[in-house]
């Protein structure tokens, strides 16, 4: 029917002269774009199925392939852009809610790129991290304002439980189910090697991965999938997920076709049944209710594990964080609106929530103003793209950051943003066995460890440049930041001066 025709988004450019017809592209495309024509002895492609995941391009041994955005355009219209029109065509055709994956691709202001970092000159000399000691170790958890000692100098105060990290970077929550077993294994092994933590997400913890428990944060979300006593005690900390940056205010939905035998066992739900996480926790309607859950979890783990409460960055985030800090939580995790997801309604992902940079500045300031900043650590996530973003986040007041999308990129993700189809050609966001095996955890773990240790080196370089030799001295040190191209209001929220001031 012509009325529902949408021209394919991409074109497959195959340089015939270079193509040797090895058919690797055909074998590697789960979307079945490529095929071999015996009669004409050539490769064919059906670009309507292409999602631009770059798998074929990456594997083509003669670099004969490239993928290009189609130049087929509707008549130019600055208001009714092509994408807006096509989304209307799709919804008129199906009557359905539009689904998307990964973080929003919309061109919202990115404040990391409007913040510049300071460096020392002459009076306060820079430090060379290759020659002098440099500390990036962080402890996450409630900090005491005062320590008491007995007459022999022995510590009397009881230190609340902490997570010890070699660097201020953790892997954010991605559930087993939304990502594959091999992706989880890669994260677990890399976190162990790096001395940091990965996060189970809400899908429970696969039996094989209990051995990485010391570097695991176990999550309890509104669906309570896979939660039991051993699970809670398996990790270094417990995270209560109240919200997610990509989809604040709504729950999750893992389709039944992704619930295969192993996922079913881990989540403790039947095979093939949709896993629906409600939007709210049905037992939490107030800070007091949240406190009850926090202490239930602490009780179940003998008060030995710090409890994280994860929220999405929304308009009232500072007030909410203040409530959480008073609820008994040890750590607050805040997820910005650019954060990734395995699937979210497009409208929610692209329009709900606020940038993490603003949320972080507001929360840190509010907790300081209320003299409760030491009661909690702050972890932020939602599109941390480089070590520079990490340094800026820490200078704005974060104790550590979560990286999700960056970690997936290290594992091979090319951000084609079609995780919700379950046909990830890179073996990450899929449960199809032939695709899952495409991610060898030996390679995955190594690449993740490479990425994070490279970032850690860069963080040390930047700290050294500022004349700072400990991450603690950078935390909340907003004097090290300057804004560029920001309004007075934005600078006020960030609590930083404009460049030149």
């Amino acid at each position: 029917m012509a009325i529902n025709f949408i021209h394919p988004e991409f074109e497959i450019i195959r340089e015939e002269k270079r193509c040797i017809k090895c058919r690797a592209c055909e074998r590697q495309c789960a979307n079945e774009v490529h095929s071999y024509d015996q009669e004409f002895d050539c490769m064919e492609s059906d670009e309507s199925k292409c999602v631009d995941c770059q798998r074929c391009v990456s594997l083509c041994p003669t670099r004969a392939l490239k993928i290009r955005k189609t130049d087929n355009r509707y008549r130019e219209n600055a208001n009714w852009q092509q994408q807006a029109m096509e989304e209307i065509f799709r919804q008129a055709d199906t009557g359905g809610v539009l689904l998307s994956s990964m973080g929003t691709p919309k061109d919202y202001p990115n404040y990391w790129d409007k913040i510049l970092i300071n460096a020392s000159q002459v009076t306060n000399p820079p430090i060379d991290p290759l020659r002098e000691p440099m500390e990036t170790k962080v402890f996450l958890g409630k900090k005491l304002n005062k320590l008491e000692f007995d007459e022999n100098g022995e510590l009397l105060s009881e230190i609340p439980p902490q997570i010890e990290l070699e660097m201020p970077i953790m892997f954010s929550a991605m559930s087993y189910g939304s990502i594959s077993e091999n992706a989880h294994k890669s994260l677990a092994r890399a976190a162990t090697e790096l001395g940091t933590c990965y996060n189970t997400g809400e899908g429970g913890l696969n039996q094989d991965l209990y051995k990485y428990g010391a570097n695991t944060i176990v999550q309890v979300a509104s669906g309570r999938f896979g939660v039991h006593k051993d699970y809670l005690n398996a990790g270094a900390a417990i995270e209560i997920k109240m919200g997610q940056g990509a989809k604040p205010g709504i729950g999750g939905h893992l389709p039944g076709r992704k619930i295969l035998e192993k996922v079913s066992r881990t989540r403790m739900i039947p095979v093939g049944v949709d896993a629906i996480s409600p939007a709210p926790h049905h037992d939490i309607y107030s800070i007091e209710d949240l406190r009850q859950l926090i202490f239930s979890l602490k009780e179940a783990t003998n008060y030995e594990k710090p409890v994280i409460v994860k929220i999405a960055a929304v308009h009232n985030v500072a007030a909410i964080a203040s409530g959480i800090a008073r609820s008994g939580a040890d750590i607050i995790a805040i997820d910005g609106f650019r954060g990734g997801t395995g699937a979210a309604p497009t409208r929610i992902r692209d329009n709900v929530g606020i940038p993490i940079e603003l949320a972080l500045a507001a929360v840190d300031q509010r907790l300081r103003d209320e003299k409760i900043r030491n009661d909690v650590s702050i972890v932020i996530g939602g599109s941390i793209r480089s070590s520079a973003d990490v340094v800026k986040a820490i200078a704005l007041g974060a104790d550590a950051v979560y990286i999700g999308t960056a970690a997936l990129l290290a594992l091979g993700c090319h951000l084609c943003r079609t995780c919700h189809t379950g046909k990830c050609n890179w073996g990450i966001a899929t449960q199809r066995e032939d695709l899952v095996k495409r991610l060898n955890p030996d390679i995955g773990a190594k690449r993740l460890a490479n990425l994070v240790s490279a970032w850690n080196h860069e963080i040390m370089e930047m700290m050294g440049g500022m004349g700072i030799n400990s991450i603690e001295a950078l935390k909340g040190n907003r004097l090290m930041l300057r804004g560029i191209g920001m309004s007075a209001k934005e600078l006020e929220i960030f609590g930083i001066s404009h460049a030149g001031e």
Binding site: A24, R27, L59, P61, E433, K437, R438, N440, D442
Partner: protein, 151 residues
């Protein structure tokens, strides 16, 4: 000795090892030329077997300690060199295929000129380290010295 080992758990069945093997042994410096500029496409000495339930694994010469193929060779074209690599001298091979019949692993094949074609661990070409190992996209093929020989 170091041998090529295949871990079917990670083999994707992309068959790129075959392409890389054929290219490495083609004598051409450019893969496109090797495949598109010759009368006959270069042949691989490694073969990926595709089984049911998405099982794939590549098969190439095991370089056995006491190779049946060498025992069976009627012209002495097959020999074991000082490094333990089973090599073929195709000037002496008469194409009788006795070695193919004797190989318990089904690793041997015949080239365009009807003489034996087999993996020589890339010692005889530009590759150096076996090309299939170096170019495998998922580390499914490895080049390792493991304890205990075969056969």
């Amino acid at each position: 000795m170091k041998r090529v080992y295949v871990n079917e758990e990670w083999c994707l069945g992309c068959h790129l090892c075959e392409i890389q093997c054929a290219f490495a042994n083609s004598g051409e410096a450019d893969m496109v030329k090797a495949f598109n500029n010759s009368e006959q496409k270069p042949l691989a000495r490694i073969t990926v077997e595709d089984g049911e339930n998405d099982i794939h694994f590549a098969v190439s010469c095991r370089h056995c300690e006491t190779p049946y193929c060498v025992k069976g060779c009627i012209t002495g074209a097959l020999t074991v060199n000082e490094n333990g690599i089973v090599q073929i001298d195709d000037t002496r091979c008469v194409g009788c295929r006795t070695c193919i019949l004797m190989c318990p692993y089904g690793c041997l094949t015949v080239g365009h000129n009807k003489t034996l074609l087999k993996c020589e661990l890339c010692v005889e070409n530009l590759g150096g380290e076996p090309s299939c190992v170096r170019r495998c996209p998922n580390n499914a093929i490895v080049f390792e010295d493991r304890d205990g020989g075969l056969l």
